[in-house]
């Protein structure tokens, strides 16, 4: 079933009723849309521009995007709206500035691997150490690359759901409660238990490959 403010908007018979319904819709969801815009554009003015862009795009072609929401109970309208709003904002940024090198998949993956490395192997190692030493010494760079390869290979051997769990915890820094909700685990304790088991499994896997600690 569609939310009332959405069904009223989509069913509005004449322009006046449509304008009124649109005002109500914006009032109802402006806070969420603003947060979605701010999650992509940190600068205040840019976020407000993105918000205006969002409203324009949602209105476009007789609310084509809003009409695409499938009210089959698979997701809440607000969640769907946030996904669509963020994508609209991201597309706007990419159209204007292109995909930045830093946000590219390779850079993110490399960062993620190092984060996992820190959390997995020793906790004591500074994430920047690897990059610093790698920059200064060719041998260290080679060994660091080997270590990353070993970790990537160990991660690849895990089940997709387990890899996702590690991503959510170490890349996303999500709280155990949020991870439990996403993965449909009964309690945060189940998240911790699974994480412990996975880290032990990764340690063993790296150990078999000859990696014993943070120093490659």
């Amino acid at each position: 079933m569609l939310p009332l403010e959405l069904s009223t908007l989509l069913d509005a018979a004449d322009p006046a009723a449509r304008e009124l319904a649109w005002t109500t819709f914006v009032e109802t969801h402006s806070r969420l849309l603003l947060h979605a815009a701010r999650s992509v554009e940190r600068d205040h003015d840019a976020a407000m521009d993105a918000y205006a862009h969002l409203l324009e795009q949602l209105r476009r072609d007789d609310f084509r995007r809003l009409r695409a929401y499938a009210s089959d109970g698979r997701s809440k309208f607000t969640t769907w709206l946030v996904v669509v709003a963020r994508r609209l904002c991201l597309d706007r940024v990419r159209q204007r500035y292109g995909r930045t090198q830093e946000s590219g998949p390779h850079a993110e993956q490399s960062h993620a691997i190092r984060r996992r490395l820190v959390d997995h192997i020793a906790e004591a190692i500074d994430a920047d150490d690897l990059a610093d030493t790698a920059a200064g010494d060719a041998e260290m760079r080679l060994r660091a690359a080997e270590l990353e390869r070993a970790l990537t290979s160990a991660l690849a051997s895990l089940a997709p759901r387990d890899r996702l769990l590690l991503r959510l915890r170490f890349d996303g820094d999500l709280a155990a409660r949020e991870i439990a909700h996403l993965l449909k685990l009964p309690t945060p304790f189940h998240v911790y238990r699974r994480l412990n088991a996975l880290l032990a499994q990764l340690r063993e896997s790296l150990s078999r490959r000859g990696v014993q600690g943070p120093d490659p």
Binding site: H29, Y69, S75, K76, V82, V84, L168, L174, K184, N196
Partner: protein, 197 residues
């Protein structure tokens, strides 16, 4: 994934309705398994799930404002009724009050965290204006094994609590910031590695 008309028509990524239903923890087990298999290897979609999950912590305005509106009306009635009674009873001069606290930070666990070698002293950061802290210790099955309250920012485990070697324990600190109002830290794990503690 379904052929949703969203901003990312690239079939290499999740459709908006699939991603939204995953964040809402709905959808069939088969769909969820497909989404999880994709998320495990797609940095972009996984980052999107994380970002949307964070954004959805904010409740929709429709739900968010009903309760405060009712509370505001109740408070106004209370102030009118009780205020009149108080104004009759007291004639004391106005006094300065401390500013109202509008935001509250949660306490942060300092120690123990992770693997430790001896029976821990529990330490956390103070919370401004908090007058009481509640500590709860859980075993790895989620059962509460010890709970205590203190006005300090540290506490020692009583001798009656025996922690098993290499077993995982979790603890949380809550700070009381008002009447029946508590802010809690994250749940933190620790384990004792040394057999000779």
């Amino acid at each position: 994934m379904s052929d949703m008309d969203d901003e990312r028509r690239d079939p290499a990524h999740l459709a908006a309705d699939d991603l939204a239903s995953y964040v809402d923890a709905t959808g069939t087990p088969a769909l969820r398994a497909r989404v999880e298999a994709h998320l495990a290897d797609c940095t972009e979609c996984c980052a999107e799930v994380i970002a949307v999950s964070r954004l959805m912590r904010i409740r929709s305005p429709g739900r968010r404002w009903h309760l405060p509106a009712i509370a505001a009306v109740a408070a106004a009635i209370f102030l009118i009724v009780v205020g009149r009674q108080l104004s009759v009873r007291t004639e004391s001069p106005a006094v300065l009050r401390e500013p109202v606290i509008t935001t509250t930070v949660a306490p942060t666990v300092v120690a123990p965290r992770g693997a430790i070698t001896e029976t821990p002293c529990l330490v956390w950061t103070s919370v401004p204006h908090a007058d009481l802290y509640r500590i709860t210790l859980f075993d790895d099955a989620g059962g509460s094994i010890w709970e205590s309250q203190t006005r300090d920012t540290s506490a020692a485990l009583p001798a009656s609590i025996h922690l098993a070697d290499r077993a995982s324990y979790y603890w949380r600190i809550e700070a009381q910031t008002g009447w029946n109002r508590w802010v809690a830290s994250d749940l933190i794990e620790f384990s004792i590695a040394s057999p000779g503690r």
